[in-house]
């Protein structure tokens, strides 16, 4: 169950930065837009979480949208140091305080958490190396971790996915686009 997140901010740097931080820590689909017009608001997106630049948030067009829409959760990205409501993120907020603000929108019930629980970022890194055919030792060296840690990750990956063989894990990596299939020959890997 991935949360849909919409970022509306004139700065590309803010959009990309926020998108990266969110996807690093939460199960979510992020889309960013420079202006409200760019976002055509497809109906398929049900109750997305919206992170919006404060100027845009205060615009008439946006206020109108909020009234008509199904009251999605909207959080302002602001320069204003004085605002500390749960619906604001400071532009120069630390990563920790960003998470503090957003945690409540993503923390799920234990059941949802189990359903949403995919691989962690580290596990995906290990998965990619497994799929590319590297040994445990080679993966350990590449990622600067111990062989023991690599084996732990492999065990967790197998338990989470229900896939054990290298070929099987490779298939999983390919269909989830963890491997760029333009650069490799699939027949070699599987």
């Amino acid at each position: 169950m991935k949360t849909n997140v919409i970022i509306i901010h004139t700065s590309t740097i803010v959009c990309e930065g926020l998108s990266f931080i969110l996807q690093k820590n939460y199960q979510c689909d992020c889309k960013s837009y420079r202006t409200l017009d760019e976002w055509t608001q497809p109906e398929a997106l049900q109750k997305p979480l919206i992170l919006v630049e404060d100027i845009i948030a205060n615009s008439a067009a946006y206020l109108k949208f909020m009234e008509s829409a199904n009251t999605p959760t909207s959080i302002s990205i602001t320069h204003n140091q004085n605002t500390t409501t749960p619906y604001n993120i400071l532009i120069n907020a630390s990563e920790a305080s960003i998470y503090e603000c957003l945690d409540k929108y993503f923390v799920a019930s234990p059941e949802q958490k189990e359903e949403a629980e995919g691989l962690s970022k580290r596990e995906i890194e290990v998965l990619i190396e497994i799929a590319l055919g590297y040994s445990n030792k080679e993966i350990a060296d590449k990622l600067f971790i111990s062989t023991h840690t690599v084996m732990s990750h492999r065990k967790n990956i197998t338990n989470k996915l229900g896939i054990k063989s290298i070929s099987g894990l490779t298939v999983y990596a390919i269909i989830n686009n963890y491997i760029n299939t333009d650069q490799i020959v699939i027949s070699d890997l599987i």
Binding site: L161, G162, I163, K164, S165, S167, G168, V171, Y172, I174, I175, N176, T181, I186, S187, I190
Partner: protein, 231 residues
């Protein structure tokens, strides 16, 4: 769970567990035998009734596995049953899986790459299974036969074979996980259902097959080798 006995009829057998059909076919028991009991049929067709009953009872009930009774039979009888099982896999099950997978891919109108990758994975799995069966047919079974007949090489033992024996059940489980959990269902669901059911039945049969090999056949052979070495 009730055990089948010599007095039972084929119809009652199948009513209790229709998955026994391929198993009784391997013995050449056949259908169209009206109400003849297993005892009568085995006598008519020169089949070892005790062995047949043991095999169908162990297949029907996973918890029932009387090792000592099974080990009392000649390995040649066991090999004969296993050989017939291989024929079933080679001529029916594997081609059926292949065909269903092919149909599944054709039913996908989006022509997604996912199913094509699954096909490549299945191909790898199939190659492993065929190799496993080939090793048994060309190496293991002839060796055991020679051993029984007293014409085997002195320097060859079953351990030589065991080291290289491939493990086939991992990829089958992976295939199930991939199809059930991760592939987008852009295909015909009925074809996929049939594919999965065939796969599940194959898995159960393979496990049964492996159990007989590992727990009965190999230990018998080890005993014979030990006896030979002592003499």
């Amino acid at each position: 769970m009730n055990k089948f006995s010599r007095k039972d009829k084929v119809f009652d057998l199948l009513e209790t567990n229709h998955h026994l059909l391929p198993v009784i076919n391997r013995f050449g028991l056949g259908l169209g035998n009206k109400d003849k009991s297993i005892a009568t049929l085995c006598k008519e067709k020169d089949i070892n009734a005790e062995f047949l009953l043991l095999i169908i009872n162990t297949f029907n009930n996973e918890e029932y596995f009387p090792e000592d009774e099974l080990k009392a039979f000649s390995p040649l009888l066991i090999i004969d049953y296993l050989r017939k099982t291989h024929i079933h896999y080679n001529t029916y099950v594997l081609p059926k899986l292949q065909q269903l997978l092919h149909q599944l891919i054709k039913s996908d109108k989006t022509e997604s790459k996912e199913l094509l990758i699954i096909e490549k994975f299945y191909h790898k799995y199939k190659t492993e299974v065929l190799l496993h069966l080939k090793e048994e047919e060309e190496l293991l079974f002839p060796y055991i036969t020679k051993l029984i007949n007293g014409t085997s090489r002195k320097d060859y033992s079953i351990h030589t074979f065991e080291k290289e024996h491939t493990n086939v059940d991992t990829k089958l489980k992976d295939l199930k996980s991939l199809i059930i959990k991760y592939i987008e269902p852009v295909y015909d669901q009925y074809i996929c259902t049939e594919f999965l059911i065939t796969l599940y039945d194959f898995e159960k049969d393979l496990n049964d097959h492996a159990r007989i090999e590992d727990t009965i056949l190999i230990p018998i052979v080890l005993d014979i080798e030990r006896e030979n070495n002592e003499n």
